[in-house]
Symmetry: C2
Subunit: 166 residues, 2 copies
Amino acid sequence: MEQPAPVSPAFIATDHNHDHCVSLALQTAEAICRERGQRLTTLRRKVLELVWANHRPVGAYGLLEMLRDESGQVAPATVYRALDFLQEQGLVHRLASLNAFIGCAFPGAAHTGQFLICTSCQELAELDDRQITEALRASADASGFTISHTTVEVLGLCPHCRKGRA
Amino acid sequence: MEQPAPVSPAFIATDHNHDHCVSLALQTAEAICRERGQRLTTLRRKVLELVWANHRPVGAYGLLEMLRDESGQVAPATVYRALDFLQEQGLVHRLASLNAFIGCAFPGAAHTGQFLICTSCQELAELDDRQITEALRASADASGFTISHTTVEVLGLCPHCRKGRA
DNA sequence: CTTGCTTTTGCAACAATATAACATAATACT
DNA sequence: AGTATTATGTTATATTGTTGCAAAAGCAAG
């Protein structure tokens, strides 16, 4: 599959139509799972929908709360298992520095996950920057190191919040 | 202060003299704290020593165990506070992807913390790679994003373990 | 379509990581 | 020495994530 345009571009539309990007993400997920013979069950779909609806990094226990609001009692393991599945399918990323989850902006594409995270408004941009990827690969190569997974999470201020503080 | 040689180079000496690098790290830490008018107390020094003695990422509760072996009952907060101090002074890094801590290889130098972590032997190399730093800065600039902190943690196989698996 | 197999979910307990709040002790300053 | 500041002790609790087993749902062969 070729690299598609990101589902959500970097720090552009703060007040865009969330419903649209949620349903687009769900459609894409359906297609990807169908193609791979994976089962996007009601629960998994629901969790993915909640992740996208928030449109910001959400903690597992946050999702748990939201699920409970809709479905009564739900146990942590339920959420974590759904998130595990979604991560395996590359539909959701875990942000190690926040212990939180976010919908993947490049579903179906091979990429490593690079994030700019605003510490003021929690808005996040996912990148797939060739320069960064290459720099990491080159540096690993130089040490004889074989990369299996990279965590790149950059904290700071997004353009909007930067202005607000100037 | 100019960038000094790293205390521990990348994946070179697997069976070097740990005692030496531990004491070197402690000496350096003493000097840095003295220079800054910060207090490297017995406890903080002990925690730093344990971090270095392990020479691999160690969890806070691992350190807690070791402290208890020497000093009887110790509470989590004690360790976390010491680690907080050591991080503030740039003597220790927290690895978000592992919930673990490691002695800083470039104490006293301004740097961002970039790590290659072997998932087989847990050996770790800290980098301060200009290419990576620049790529991150450039990408952030392009999005109008102001960086305050970066997390770069690369998991994979170190040269030794890669051979072992070939 | 039903029997048997696999995958998913429910459920309960628990493990691991981290913080808060307040009291006591040590250190530094004058 | 007396006072202010910083560090540590202590207890409790919050947050995040996992394990193990049983029930249910989906799937596939006959």
